[in-house]
Symmetry: C2
Subunit: 455 residues, 2 copies
Amino acid sequence: MDALTRYLDENRDRFLDDLKAALRIPSVSAQPEHREDMQRCARHLADELKRIGMTRSEVRPTDGHPLVYAEWLGAPGRPTALIYGHYDVQPPEPLELWTTPPFEPTLRDGKLYARGAVDDKGQVYMHVKALEAHLKVSGRLPINVKIVFEGEEEVGSENLAKFLRAHRAELDADVIVVSDTAMPGPDQPALCYALRGILYTQIEVVGPAHDLHSGHFGGAVQNPANALAAILTALKDGDGRITVPGFYDRVQGVSAEERAMINRTLDEKPYLAEAGAPAPWGEKGYSTAERITIRPTLDVNGMWSGYIGEGSKTVLPSFAAAKVSMRLVPDQDPVELFPRFEAYVRKLAPPGVTVKVRDLHGGRPYLSDPKHPMLQAAVRALGRAWTKPPVMAREGGSIPVMETFEQTHGLPCILMGFGLDDDQVHAPNEKFSLSSYFGGMRSVAYLYEELAKSS
Amino acid sequence: MDALTRYLDENRDRFLDDLKAALRIPSVSAQPEHREDMQRCARHLADELKRIGMTRSEVRPTDGHPLVYAEWLGAPGRPTALIYGHYDVQPPEPLELWTTPPFEPTLRDGKLYARGAVDDKGQVYMHVKALEAHLKVSGRLPINVKIVFEGEEEVGSENLAKFLRAHRAELDADVIVVSDTAMPGPDQPALCYALRGILYTQIEVVGPAHDLHSGHFGGAVQNPANALAAILTALKDGDGRITVPGFYDRVQGVSAEERAMINRTLDEKPYLAEAGAPAPWGEKGYSTAERITIRPTLDVNGMWSGYIGEGSKTVLPSFAAAKVSMRLVPDQDPVELFPRFEAYVRKLAPPGVTVKVRDLHGGRPYLSDPKHPMLQAAVRALGRAWTKPPVMAREGGSIPVMETFEQTHGLPCILMGFGLDDDQVHAPNEKFSLSSYFGGMRSVAYLYEELAKSS
């Protein structure tokens, strides 16, 4: 066992205590009463990064909660990694559903329970402790490192984007490393090389000036709820393909080899069991694994109209609305697609109603080349740290901050996360498995070494 | 001017005072704190009916609020009319929107403002005072009269149905008279000879066991909101015809003559203006007037699924539901149609979801023959009382109590109401125009005379 690995092993108890100390700070970004806690948590992290030997470490103010910036740049000629994480957490409510209090981290059965345990303080601390191990064992890091830990990930990262744009040169790097994702199982690491983008809209259908008596007006004026249903239905054809003109124009083809890899990654049975869905369903000609990775989708996320209480009310509603989001794949662009979507929805609207389409938010899809030397370095690191080599994964979701990094930096990203599906992210009894914490710590410690070799 | 008409004219002030006295009793059937007021109001009415000379008048208990029964049967060989009305009123809330307090009847510009002014105490008192006029002027009525004034119309008339069934023989009559509807304008009386029935359902679509992340599961499992939209859309074809198999089987044809009359009755421009709808819309091959009278309809009354708050939430909902009601025309039968509707909706459901259809309530359509001697008597009475002959109207709505009378009695009904569209029924500042009160009173007084001639 080398000195680095030994250091990581021998200091486990303290690494756990240090994480617990950070978890005790209720850094809830959404709740104004925790403003001071946010400052305190940023300060705590900056002090910790100073203590382990980063040459620069400071709390940087923003228009909202501060972020923590740190760097160690003592490896000229070696690559520079920009490590991103966030120290803010989701609100802990409802408190009564927690087995132990959210800000009193508690160990049970090899899992650490606390708000922020996995999202994202635990994964932030994997990096902090891996950096400590290198600095203590060798007095240096194998690569140059810049760190940005933000305090507003759970509330939209608005000020992070401004900060990244304002400090573009200062934050220049060769690769971005993010640990805020999941792995398929407790002993199966993954490297995520693609995320889907998103276009999230709201369709509003207005009919009569006010709710009408369905007996006096039903059948004689257009009903906006029926009209909305017709619009939503027409957005897909019988094969589950989205009918918006030009929607698929920029969708990249995927090689047979990659499709085969994607299909090997997903075990459909436990996936459907987790969904509690009676059967798979989706676009014709594609497998479940393909549908959630390399194909765009369209889903109603919410829908409302008229009377929704108990019993019956004979109302013809004046208004109906739906939230409709599309997941996008490379090279689809939400900015290009929104006007097409809007025009198409308006065209679908039957006579007798007026339709408004709102663009609630958008994010571009993200794709790295899995064969990129930086990503291959991550593959080697994960292979060394775990009993199995990593699966190469496309994730169906979207991480808005990746879009920001892509816009400002245009760099390869390593998405190397160690959460598990049952970690109760954003819910009561959030946890982080110690096997993920320590396995992840070893993985990122090795990643710095492997990145040094890939320059 | 005959003695009857003179009596009606000379006693106007007192007839107004007597109505005001009844309106001061807050007989709100839905609110338990008014239970005593309900008793008091029933007693007040029964006493009034006794005072004017009805031979029998009593408060009859039910399992809920009491009803008032009265009779005068001193005209053997003449027809018997069963007069129906209700003394209970809707809750007056929100109180702050009333110009004058709901239970302090106030006269402004020839209109009497109070909760229950038009619905239905004012129309009940038209009958009470018309009966008084006959009894005081002639010492007798031209026909036999039985009266049922119930106290639960605003809460579903459940105990009325039981009472009618239990006293079928005692309540035997030749015609039923109901004054609880509207007239097209302040000087245009109407006789309603048809009402649509109703089948009110709730469609519930269940997909995954719980809400899912739309990034991880969107496109791979069926979305119940999209599925519901598809079901709702398939319920009508491109011509606005309902696609439920057999739905139109029992729909009666209507003569060209009647269609012409129906089309003369509706002035489409003010009708659409009242709706605030940009354009008419409905089943191909029928006019607006026909669509709301002689044709069945299907409307979404309410619809809900997933996230309906501000902004965006990337959820794939586990559940979606819609309230869907159909207005029925003779001889459609909600009891026969529900299982067909249910089976069809289940058939429309795409794979990957389960669908439940609930029957929330049903009522059969109602149709009298406008040429029936009893209805022709009403036409003559209205012609005598107003400056114009009545229009013969089919109404698009449903009056559940008519369904009850039809089931228990199977008699011709005279629906002779004097409300106006702007009477604010069920809303703050409910009113009844004095021209309707006194014109209606004269109309029903003449009706008793005309019914005597039609035996």
